[in-house]
Symmetry: C2
Subunit: 403 residues, 2 copies
């Protein structure tokens, strides 16, 4: 008789955003006349940039002609996209990354969920708390997180690194030694970012302890401050200890278009085994490339027009972030983030729990946000709003909150 992977049964509740969607759907069914403003899930709302649209139309036409039709893509992604990434995201910042150190994928969610495949089950993981739920959930599925304690809302084998107002949302080096350290910077959900010297401390720690940093830089395009690094490879020694993940979801609105990439430097070696070659093997065996049309769309993000247009989109969202920051501050809230990231992280008022505030905001103000506790135990008492709404909705939401 076959057996299931019973690690799945240890997972508490369902995926955070599914739970929110169900709650919102129940409310709107019961109150069809209410206009809901959604500032919950980090989904973009602006249409794709004209340069991207043009590139996709052109790629679709190529697929219509036998002479230009494309079948299976190269395992690691098309060279036209990988070389563009190397040039724009790394060379331009003085970082030397080779083309075959870049792996094109269908997004950072898949990559950050799948990367665990190349590591042994026995590794101990450390995560910022609060954090994007995929890191912990996928490690739980792999049996790497021990048992779940429902009261404490945490796993027995995970090293949680609290990020709260008390430490300015920068995790402290933990007492226990982790093997795999997940860092999301700029951070989702707190909207805060480490300075280069703070990140260097983590790189030094990883090198000393023989740990790997899994660095999720999905929000890199939102960095506005000078001393925040755009890639972990700006830090000395990072190529020997860090894997970097990037996404087109937030810098170019590809949430429904799906494209991302992972960088694994060849210097990242464990007992003589290159992690780059392990990931290449995984990528070539369990994945078959992102669609040609979408890879061309990604390339267009880096064109002169594409850069200009996507920068305007980011400026639009960051203007929303400012409106939320200012609006909440005016209304008496304590607010963080929103400067190097499209997320605003606020302290819930009147000692409400995160889910109490979720219900309050949904029912009394008809605004959907995300409860901080959904991102980890130290997120309790916090709440996330995103800057990805329309300008009009964002202004409306602040009006409703101020009332």
């Amino acid at each position: 008789m076959y057996k299931i992977n019973d690690n799945y049964l240890k997972l508490p509740g369902s995926y955070l955003f599914s739970t929110i969607a169900k709650k919102v759907s129940a409310y709107t069914e019961a109150n069809p006349d209410k206009k809901i403003i959604r500032l919950g899930i980090g989904d973009v709302t602006l249409p794709l940039a004209p340069a991207v649209i043009e590139a996709m139309h052109s790629a679709v036409d190529e697929m219509a002609d036998a002479a230009t039709f494309r079948g299976y893509a190269p395992d690691l992604g098309y060279e036209f996209l990988r070389s563009t990434i190397v040039k724009n995201d790394y060379e331009a910042r003085g970082v030397n990354i080779a083309i075959d150190e870049v792996f094109i994928s269908d997004g950072a969610k898949s990559d950050s969920g799948n990367i665990g495949d190349i590591f042994a089950k026995e590794n101990r993981i450390a995560v910022c708390d609060p954090v994007y739920p995929v890191y912990v959930d996928t490690n739980a599925m792999a049996g790497r997180t021990g048992e779940y304690d429902k009261d404490k809302e945490c796993w027995s084998q995970v090293i949680y690194m609290p990020c709260t107002a008390e430490n300015n949302f920068v995790p402290a080096i933990p007492e226990e030694t982790p093997d795999l350290i997940y860092i999301c910077c700029p951070n989702n959900p707190t909207g805060t970012a480490m300075k280069k010297e703070e990140l260097q401390t983590w790189v030094d720690f990883a090198l000393t302890k023989g740990a790997v940093i899994i660095y999720d830089a999905a929000y890199e395009a939102y960095i506005s401050e000078e001393d925040v690094p755009h890639t972990i490879y700006e830090c000395e020694g990072a190529k020997k200890c860090a894997i970097e993940m990037r996404s087109f979801s937030k810098n170019a609105g590809f949430t429904g278009t799906r494209l991302g990439f992972t960088v694994i430097p060849k210097e990242l070696v464990c007992d003589g085994v290159s992690l780059n070659s392990l990931w290449a093997r995984r990528h070539g065996t369990k994945f078959n490339g992102a669609p040609y049309i979408i890879q061309r769309a990604g390339e267009a993000v880096y064109s002169e027009e594409g850069k200009k247009q996507t920068k305007e989109q980011i400026a639009y969202y960051m203007n929303n972030a400012k409106i939320i920051r200012d609006g909440l501050t005016e209304a008496g809230y304590t607010v963080f983030g929103g400067v190097n990231a499209p997320y605003i992280w606020l302290k819930t008022p009147d000692r409400m729990t995160s889910w109490e505030f979720f219900d309050y905001l949904l029912e009394e103000r008809n605004i959907v946000g995300t409860p901080g506790s959904g991102f980890g135990p130290s997120g309790e008492g916090y709440f996330r709003l995103t800057a990805f709404g329309s300008l009009e909705n964002t202004k409306d939401a602040m009006e409703r909150i101020r009332k």
Copy 2:
């Protein structure tokens, strides 16, 4: 110090098609004047159908307008696509499948590689031999296959079910009891297919033994004989023991466009746990949906025009298959497959090994095929040619072989 998943180190050589690509590339570099005909990898060559192209252009335009822009897709895929699949692939054949039993993905390669995630490591797998390498390789990565014996070219813990000319390429029920049974029908690489009553034997066996059948029906569209089932759910009891995978790669030329789906009936339950819910959790946590544009392309495959156009493509390839069958037979080869599948499986002449014949065909006839032994130990002495070339190249290849 972190540890890698050392199951990866047990994997022999690199992925079959990467090895072939390297050999071909070395030959063409050394012989730039030779015109190579590629009948190796199962990649399509005809452009996408006009209905598909039209749907993609239209979807791209939707992404250009805020009013019709699509962000994150629903976890399981868009309902427009899932309901179309249910109607055309199942209802039309008298099989009742619910919309939430269908999971849209980026292809059957990913799904067949990832499905192992929801099962315990301890399960024993059985595979047809020869077979598409992804089933065994991904189970090896998960530590499910024991040790690799280089001499015998097989894994200690895998139950191999030989499919050779002796048993007409229909696997016999194995003596040892498997937990997970991989069946690809119509089969890749042998190009042969089980009749409904033969498949029913497997369903009955799985039900008796408490095994799950992972049924890869990627080549379903090529079935031409009446008594070959188009879905395993045509067999009685299959909903209680089978997972079915489908692909748009071969029925509509989506190898570089990437779309597929997996069906997990809710009746498939292990000790009270629904495999459908486990896969839903995996899908929602480690994947973020196929691109909207591509899901619209998939929908168009089922439109009246789309059906007509893709049927013509399949007829084109099956005409190639006939040319290869006839050509090889005329040249004195013993040939199988090519009737319900786009693959022709031939016995190598003069007791040559599969790789010897590969080298011979590449160097003497400038034709690339796939060595049978690359698909498993019982593939030794066989060779695969695909019908996916152009009509002209296919005719040329047969000319070269007849000489």
